[in-house]
Symmetry: C2
């Protein structure tokens, strides 16, 4: 061993000990010819080395620099100038001998929390970027989450069982990465998008409780902060109903909070339905760290059947004021932004520009200032009297001093815009604190989504999700065919709810799952509902349909997005900061320069060739 101790462990009690350290040179401070201080760093911390007299002269000759790897022998001494910021700050090591184990060129950026390296440079030299304390802390947090999850799941009788990576391509939803098989020319493996069918087979095999922290692969165009390979905490349980799953995995997340962040998350975890989340937040993964709920001033009745506008049942709403924008809109939604009634024209103009950006896509923004003196002033004073503005303000639950923002347009886009505007205002007002954590279960998702291009139903979660028991007859009793695409919302399938649930943390979906179908007949019906012929279903999923014939138990599960969970716990928006060797938005590893070309021998053996356009 090149060291007797690490750079993070020496304390005042070690004074007088003769020790050896090894690590990286963080800084060199030359006070005089016969007094040089060197901060030596390793994963565990930093220790101060002192080179005095003779030894300082030999250091000079060897001239060590930043990031050199050295080994130093010496005696621990109490510091005269203690550094309370540093765990080892009470002591220093008086060096008696040292050697350079390896030199370092000058790094292309500084190894500091506030490095001068840009993103591209840091990714190219990721092995240096990983030395920075900020990145190291992220990977330590990731390992702590990993460890905590494993301990909890182990204590709850879950078994880690490895599922295969070279499987069969059954694209349904996302694209598969494929792997040509040399031993089976013309055939391909696929990399798993998730171990979904395998974990279900393990339930059929009676393994009762399964987990895996496992890499998954999706060949999708990479939006910001998506990775072609990502990690899931993947779990499945037998003989459970939805409530059992919710409780088990609330326990998991509470445990992670405790182990990793030292937080006792004891409060009841709010549950809401998908319908309610869309109604109140315009979003199926609402950030509930703050209120500012949507006031639904106008909406198409088929979207939320049986609900009333925020004005109240039978009350006058927006109509009759002659304001065409509201009159012609399918949907009008307002939020009351607390304490912003004094916004200047410049500020409201900026917000208007913000909602008009293509990502948000609104035509404009109406504002109503609810002044602290109780008066109201709006951008639609021409159309609405102060009394009517008061009614609107009341519908949004605004208080004096609030700024009411109103968007209008087609239902889907407007609701999304209202949601985005709410999140933006929450962020600007500091209501979305990195160190505050709010969990939420979203339940009762729709089972199907309408795919316009193909005029058919697709699975919102995946084809193995069970409908609510009460909706099974609706699914069994109706054809999936959509005769009138314009009115797909009136098809019986549109209202079928799934036994599916998402866990949301601070406005991010961190986990999602469902109770699964476990009867062959219902699974076949589901495949048919998605437009698969019996032959296709059998070709793709025959093994699962077969397994369901031999005593499949009721089961369900959940998968957590491990990268995302870590980034939120670490207070970051970027999952890349929590992955040791991430890829960029083109799916490239710029450090390795991968992907790359392969040679003729490889093409030849795999019996494939390029067919470039």
């Amino acid at each position: 061993m090149y060291r007797s101790h690490t750079c993070g462990e020496l304390r005042i009690g070690d004074v007088q000990k003769e020790i050896t350290l090894a690590g990286w040179v963080q800084t060199v401070r030359k006070v005089s010819k016969s007094l040089i201080f060197v901060d030596l760093r390793d994963r565990y911390g930093i220790s101060q080395l002192v080179f005095e007299e003779n030894i300082s002269a030999s250091l000079d000759e060897q001239s060590i620099g930043r990031e050199y790897v050295i080994q130093a022998k010496g005696v621990v001494r109490e510091r005269s100038n203690k550094n309370p910021q540093l765990a080892t700050g009470d002591i220093e090591i008086v060096v008696s001998a040292f050697q350079i184990l390896n030199k370092s060129a000058v790094p292309p950026f500084t190894i500091d929390d506030n490095t001068d390296g840009g993103d591209d440079l840091r990714m190219k030299y990721r092995y240096l970027d990983l030395r920075r304390n900020a990145v190291k802390k992220n990977l330590e947090l990731r390992y702590a989450v990993n460890r905590s999850a494993r301990n909890y799941l182990h204590e709850n009788n879950f078994m880690d069982i490895e599922t295969p990576f070279l499987i069969k391509s059954t694209p349904e939803g996302a694209r598969d990465f494929v792997v040509p098989s040399r031993m089976n020319p013309g055939q391909f493996y696929a990399l798993p998008q998730s171990p979904q069918t395998f974990k279900q087979l393990l339930m059929v095999s009676g393994y009762d409780r399964y987990y895996q922290i496992v890499k998954c692969f999706r060949d999708e165009d990479l939006r910001a902060d998506r990775q072609p390979e990502f990690t899931q905490i993947d779990c499945e349980m037998c003989f459970v109903e939805q409530e059992d799953i919710l409780q088990m995995f609330e326990g998991l997340v509470r445990r992670i909070f405790k182990d990793v962040k030292g937080i006792d998350y004891n409060e009841v975890i709010t549950r809401t339905t998908w319908d309610e989340a869309m109604w109140q937040y315009g979003n199926d993964k609402p950030d509930i760290r703050f209120g500012m709920q949507l006031a639904n001033l106008k909406f198409p009745s088929h979207t939320f059947p049986g609900r009333h506008t925020a004005f109240g049942e039978g009350k006058q709403g927006l109509e009759g004021a002659g304001f065409g924008v509201f009159d012609n809109a399918e949907t009008v939604i307002a939020i009351a932004v607390p304490g912003c009634s004094e916004y200047t024209r410049k500020q409201t103009d900026e917000l208007t520009e913000w909602v008009k950006r293509p990502q948000i896509g609104m035509q404009g923004l109406v504002y109503i200032k609810y002044n602290t003196d109780g008066t109201l002033k709006s951008s639609v004073d021409k159309f609405y009297t102060e009394d009517r503005l008061k009614t609107i303000a009341a519908a949004t639950n605004a208080q004096p001093g609030d700024l009411i923002l109103v968007v209008a347009g087609r239902e889907e886009r407007t609701r999304k815009a209202a949601s985005e505007l709410r999140l933006e205002m929450g962020k600007r007002l500091g209501m979305r604190r990195e160190d505050e954590f709010k969990l939420l279960w979203v339940l009762d998702f729709p089972l199907f989504e309408y795919a316009e291009e193909e005029n058919r139903w697709v699975a919102r979660h995946h084809p193995f999700t069970s409908p609510k028991p009460s909706d099974i007859p609706v699914m069994i009793g109706n054809s999936p065919v959509i005769d009138n695409p314009e009115q797909y919302l009136e098809h019986p399938y549109a209202g079928i709810k799934a036994n599916a649930y998402d866990m949301v943390l601070n406005g991010n979906e961190i986990g999602g799952g469902s109770i699964r179908i476990f009867q062959r007949e219902l699974q076949e019906k589901m495949f048919a509902a998605l437009g698969m012929s019996p032959e296709e279903a059998n070709h793709k999923f025959g093994f699962l349909l077969g397994a369901f014939e031999y005593g499949a138990p009721p089961h369900g599960g959940i998968a957590f997005g491990f990268d995302r969970l870590c980034s939120i716990l670490g207070g970051s928006e970027s999952i890349r900061d929590f992955i040791a060797f991430p890829k960029n938005n083109s799916g490239r590893d710029v450090m390795l320069d991968a992907p790359g070309t392969i040679d003729d021998k490889q093409f030849d053996e795999l019996q494939i060739k390029l067919n470039l356009k």
Copy 2:
């Protein structure tokens, strides 16, 4: 939850409790119309259900069969006929209500330890095979090893850090599996053969102690019991020398023995050199559960320079008896098989046939019976007097009652044959007990191997393994070019030893590793020694060479073959039995029917096409 308890937990203390169980029907025994016993099984055990009177009638109507999934409610009662074989054998459940949760077709083979299902059938219905207790025990053992290893490594400051799966193809040794990149047309990722370079980069980044239990991929022709995807316990440490690694990972294996098998493996773990293992056992992974070491009666002097035959220095050996087979052989090796001097002619003939099989490849077998009365009788009595036979017997350390077996021929083949013969005789004599475990370190491997076809050196371990410090000048100071292929053994590189080590358990390599090169210059020299041009080295491993410029610390590591380790601990020769979803010898998953074809859209998007011969 469908149950209040599992099928393995009820005990005499639970008598009178009203409980609910759910599980699979193992057996149905109908004693009479009003008395039916059902054994209900889950992962945790088996509980006996009793259907009496009314309820037995309703059971009859529903007629449950093997592998049906049922839920049963009832009261726990003490059994009159206790079953001490069963953890739940003191009690039974008097069923008051039950329901069938799912039916089962009759399984294609019995779900028993001694199933009637052949290998192919069991693989096709792997989800049923996994229900068998024998297979379940294997996966439980696998999880226990996983858990034990993680705990030990965690306690010793190792961090689990995930490395990428989509990397760059740098074939050197085994073939890579490759993955076409849709976003980078014409380019391919490779799946990692191991995380070798990444774990080294993590050391350069200062992570100090890394581990991962990780899938690796090699596209090799599958010999029996090889899998295209396999799992490694992969570890790396900074600032260590070989001795530190040996001690750390002896600790890991001792811990696994303790946690998983309840064995205190306290004895000193034997260490031997590669040279010595080849000399004594003809094999670099000797099974030392038994002796029967090789007696080297004749060998080519360049192979083991400075060693003497078993006859002793300067003593007469086999020569001068006129026995051409020995006189013309490069190598003659004997083993003394204990207690087999009474073998019949039929038995020795059978052994002769055994060594003549193509896998062993000997021309014949000479035997010498060292009878219990002290006389000797051999198949070469024509050539050797009893006195000379005695000298041979003494050289093999034979005792009266032993059977001495002698093989002769070319060095490499003969040594391998002697090794195989030793293992075979050890097996036949019951000296290789599944429940006995003997660990061994093999050290000082050759750094290079000679590749005859290409007349060049290849890395025996991998190109990142460091030579012994004393051999570095030999490597630096000599050209790798082999001028005379016939005499490659006389090239200075042939004698260079590596800082590499293998851990051997019961004759299987369970782990291997090395101290790594950490200096750019030496790594470049190594790539050159393997015949790589500087351009090629830079194209393939530029990132690693670059990393070595910025303060790379001394480091080393090891990787354990997780599948193999589990199979040996489980007392099996087949790793497939310890993998949930293994592939067959053609790399196929017969359950999934993978690999399979992909559709035109996939070819089109990936911009590749088939080029079948």
